[in-house]
């Protein structure tokens, strides 16, 4: 088992599909993950299951991998802290979670933008570029950069889960470049495909951050580090000013009004 827990989860699920099904039961969503390079031990540890659940999960995984082996019944490590019932965040991390809300409002509008693009006589280049401007300057520059330049520096940046976040950010930037190219060329299919791909990617990315990554980081931060991250994030926000988040919130409200009118026409 020691060898298995140090293996990448994708390899394990590929060799033992039952392990994927067991993880799903515990709301550990590794099966659809596009990367799957986290080690099994990290996958289990990062979800902060309560000790009894974790022991039972490991027991079931071992039984699935070695059905003929006499696996001892799970031993509960009572010294480990139980997982908190509800997720709470430190103030700087809570600010990042709150910023996700505006990003999710854009993601919710993307199917309408894509459909509007597809059914319009001519590509509304200005609309696409304004959405891209939101993604690049609010979601990426304002939000993702605080993660990359500040928060992630307080944990092991080589950890697979952090590498996956970096990869998601890069993949998202690629979709946005493609959407811009589509807008420049008037290629409706290219715009639609890449905006929808961005939506799917960011929806999963934000869910992973809110439910798994941020709580995991918060558990590692000392009180002193929480204060440091808070001040650094505040300084980063102050460097761009209050006008930036206000501008992009106004844009989202306008977009929501536009597409609400489209739907009710």
């Amino acid at each position: 088992m020691h060898k298995v827990i140090n293996q990448e989860i994708k390899q394990i699920i590929s060799a033992y599909p039952e392990v994927g099904r067991i993880l799903e039961e515990y709301n550990i969503g590794c099966v659809p993950c596009s990367v799957g390079s986290c080690l099994l031990k990290d996958v289990v540890g990062i979800h902060n299951l309560d000790p009894e659940k974790e022991a039972t999960l490991m027991y079931r995984i071992e039984k699935a991998i070695y059905p003929g082996r006499n696996v001892p019944k799970p031993v509960v490590d009572a010294s480990k802290k139980s997982a908190p019932k509800k997720i709470t965040y430190s103030p700087p991390v809570k600010k990042l979670v709150d910023e996700h809300v505006l990003i999710k409002r854009l993601l919710a509008l993307i199917p309408s933008v894509a459909e509007y693009t597809e059914t319009s006589m001519k590509v509304d280049k200005d609309l696409i570029l304004r959405c891209v401007d939101f993604i690049r300057n609010y979601a990426d520059k304002y939000h993702h950069m605080k993660e990359e330049d500040i928060l992630f520096k307080y944990v092991d940046e080589k950890a697979e889960v952090i590498q996956i976040m970096y990869k998601d950010h890069d993949t998202g930037r690629g979709y946005v470049r493609q959407a811009v190219e589509g807008a420049e060329k008037g290629n409706k299919a290219q715009i639609k495909e890449n905006l929808l791909a961005y939506r799917e990617l960011l929806t999963q990315h934000i869910k992973k951050e809110d439910e798994i990554l941020y709580p995991w980081i918060d558990r590692q931060l000392s009180t002193t580090q929480v204060g440091e991250v808070f001040q650094k994030c505040n300084a980063a926000d102050a460097s761009v000013g209050d006008a930036l988040p206000r501008k992009y919130e106004k844009f989202i409200i306008e977009l929501e009004e536009k597409f609400l009118q489209e739907v009710t026409k």
Binding site: S90, P91, P92, T223, T224, V226, G227, E228, F230
Partner: protein, 153 residues
């Protein structure tokens, strides 16, 4: 039973399920003097840029590992929201700690009795009056020395 939970008589001297080790000596983690909220000055060097523990008087007696787990690495001020007078001064001192001493964080440690939450309110009022913003944490200690909750406000 009725009356104020803060002064109600409770005897848990028969408590037997005591986990932990009695071996070894633990050094004091106190790095300053004075510590009482009326006596400390927000301009004292030991507050500048530090993580501050604002502890209700009773907490240090209730928590077995107060020094090791909560005081270590922090500067401290203590107060009793039930018995201390002139508590508006405390609000101003917290504001000054945040704005002038530029403290990094403020952790407020209180007992579970209702009157002790007054200290958390004082901390919140001081933080709200301050121009600078900092993370504020509330730690609630049970009467038998267990941590009931620890959360950022």
């Amino acid at each position: 039973m009725s009356g104020c939970p803060g002064s109600k008589t409770i005897d848990f001297s028969e408590k037997t399920n005591q986990e932990g080790s009695e071996t070894g000596k633990r050094p004091s983690q106190l790095r300053q003097w004075p510590i009482q909220m009326h006596l400390v000055s927000p301009m004292a060097p030991y507050f500048q840029g530090k993580d501050i523990l604002l502890a209700a008087d009773c907490t240090a007696f209730a928590l077995g590992d107060f020094h090791k787990d909560y005081l270590k690495g922090k500067s401290i001020a203590i107060a009793c929201p039930k018995l201390d007078s002139d508590q508006e001064v405390y609000v101003e001192k917290i504001k000054a700690l945040i704005d002038d001493a530029k403290i990094n964080t403020l952790s407020v440690m209180i007992m579970q009795v209702p009157c002790c939450f007054g200290l958390a309110q004082i901390a919140k009022d001081g933080a709200e009056k301050a121009t600078r913003k900092i993370p504020v944490k509330q730690i609630v200690v049970g009467l038998e020395g267990n941590i009931l909750s620890e959360e950022w406000l």
